[in-house]
């Protein structure tokens, strides 16, 4: 769903994220603005440690059109904030999205 004048504006659009992975491919750090992960110490882009991965799921859809394949991670950040990340397995890009 694209945004623009005279169109519907999508809510909760995924934002690109830089994610650091461990040896098995699980996210361990995410680089994002402090405000985005619920912290108030300025608006500096800095890596935040992921304390735990609470849940993981995969979505494969629209294979008949333009395939969407994502693996979602619901994670707990250092400091207690909860976040949903996903990796677009087609483009191998990471995104962050509100739960």
């Amino acid at each position: 769903m694209r945004n623009g004048p005279d169109r519907l504006r999508a809510v909760n659009v995924p934002q690109p994220a830089v994610v650091e992975l461990d040896a098995v491919g699980s996210p361990v750090k995410i680089e994002m603005r402090s405000s985005e992960c619920g912290m108030r110490n300025g608006d500096v882009r800095e890596p935040v440690t992921i304390e735990a991965v609470r849940e993981t799921w995969r979505i494969d859809d629209e294979w008949w059109r333009e395939q969407i394949t994502r693996t979602y991670y619901e994670v707990l950040l250092q400091g207690g904030a909860r976040l949903v990340l996903f990796v677009d397995l087609v483009k191998q890009e990471w995104f962050v999205q509100r739960p």
């Binding site: 519907l8 859809d61 949903v84």
Partner: protein, 444 residues
């Protein structure tokens, strides 16, 4: 015992503006005319109510959910409905038609029957009557309702429509979306209106009803879907084909409803247009315990009296056009003000506003002992208006929407760009969070 006089007319002109609400929106915001546009339903904003032809070409239909419609037409422009505005516009049209004939029967938004019995003396043949109706509708601004079949030019639009059959006559007012059908009874005039091109009229001469109806499709009959399907399965596609069957055979298949349909199709049913008698003046009065000179208190009392008069059952279905206030003052003096509303209204704010202005400008010369509000002239409303008037919840919603619109206008003036959005469900069941909800511009 007094008998209520009945206003009826056997000959009828059906005035029809299809997609009336949608046209009101495009008249108000012409930039929408070239977009694939749809109005959200007033009672369920997840569904579509009226759909412009440009959007229909993408497969969008009324009653669809927003998500279905967006799936078919991603560029679809959605508008929130403003039923009060549509109602006001329709009331203007009805008020204009009352100046042509006293027998006027509004049926739904955009469709109204005008009784034309006895108008020959004023306007001559039906052609003259139709011309008078077209002129009045143009004078009240209905000509401005665009005949944009959304994106389709007039010439192209006309080219795509078939000419109406003989023996009908046609009149042309190409700027208008107005269609008129004239004939004996409401059914014939309605079918004629559906055959008319935008801005034109189809006149069915007296005695020519059966011939005119014979070529019309079954869908013009008031049929339920099952009967429609069964008739099609029997090979009956036109009213002429239905009439060709023996009446008793149709009755044996479809019962009493079949007889009614057969008689409609044969042009034997002629339902007259039934107008309404304008109510007598409605009066609400208040006697104060002690004479009142305070203007705020008088304004408050005025509000209460207008409310009480609006609540009179005789007012239902009518808008107030002329209102008078008179006061009995201390020491035998009196005070009188009157207001004629340019746009007849059925809301306290709009009726009381000119009275309060006059109260400020020329207040009573002494303290008021008794205050009387009188509605002395009325303009017809619509069935929808009656619904709004009865449904306090709907009225409150309309009031809140107006307040919100006013606030939105102020915000837009201050920050100079639209920053207000309305959240709608698009695909709430979607596995992709970004597809579940969306924002549309909140445009006052």
């Amino acid at each position: 015992m007094t008998r209520t006089p009945r206003l009826t007319s056997d000959t009828a002109a059906c005035c029809w503006i299809p997609l009336f609400a949608l046209r009101c929106e495009t008249a108000r915001r012409p930039e929408l005319a070239s977009l694939p546009l749809a109005l959200l339903a007033p009672d369920d904003t997840r569904r579509l109510w009226q759909v412009a032809p440009l959007a229909r070409r993408s497969g969008v239909k009324p009653g669809m959910t927003v998500s279905q419609a967006i799936g078919l037409c991603p560029a679809l422009k959605l508008c929130e409905p403003d039923p009060v505005h549509y109602d006001e516009q329709f009331a203007r049209l009805v008020a204009a038609l009352v100046t042509v004939s006293p027998v006027v029967e509004p049926v739904e938004l955009g469709r109204v029957f005008v009784g034309t019995d006895g108008l020959e003396g004023l306007y001559g043949e039906p052609e003259g009557i139709v011309e008078a109706i077209l002129m009045r509708s143009a004078e009240c601004g209905m000509r401005n309702l665009p005949n944009a079949e959304c994106g389709m030019g007039n010439a192209e639009c006309k080219g795509r429509r078939r000419e109406a059959n003989d023996p009908s006559l046609k009149f042309r007012n190409p700027q208008s979306a107005f269609r008129i059908g004239w004939g004996i009874g409401k059914f014939v005039s309605w079918v004629a209106a559906t055959r008319a091109k935008p801005g034109e009229a189809v006149i069915v001469p007296v005695g020519g009803e059966a011939k005119f109806l014979a070529s019309q499709r079954l869908a013009v009959l008031p049929l339920d879907p099952d009967t429609h399907r069964r008739l099609l399965q029997l090979g009956v596609k036109t009213l002429g084909a239905l009439v060709a069957l023996p009446e008793e055979a149709v009755v044996s298949q479809f019962g009493r409803a079949g007889r009614r349909l057969w008689r409609f199709a044969a042009g034997l049913v002629s339902e007259p247009v039934v107008g309404r008698v304008v109510p007598e003046p409605i009066v609400a009065a208040l006697t104060f315990f002690t004479p009142v000179g305070d203007r705020d208190l008088l304004a408050h009392a005025l509000d209460k009296l207008v409310d009480r008069a609006l609540g009179d059952p005789r007012r239902s279905g009518w808008r107030v056009q002329v209102v008078r206030v008179h006061a009995e003052l201390e020491h035998g003096a009196s005070w009188l003000v009157a207001a004629t509303l340019k746009d007849p209204a059925a809301t306290r704010e709009r009726i009381a506003a000119p009275l309060k202005t006059q109260l400020e400008r020329s207040p009573p010369a002494g303290a008021v002992e008794r205050l009387v509000v009188e509605f002395t002239a009325f303009a017809p409303g619509t069935a929808e208006l009656q619904l709004f008037a009865r449904d306090a919840g709907a009225a409150a919603r309309a009031g809140r929407r107006r307040a919100l619109q006013s606030a939105a206008r102020e915000i837009a003036l201050r920050i100079r760009r639209p920053m207000l959005y309305h959240v709608i469900e698009v695909q709430p069941w979607s596995r992709f969070p970004e597809r579940r909800y969306a924002l549309i511009d909140f445009e006052p």
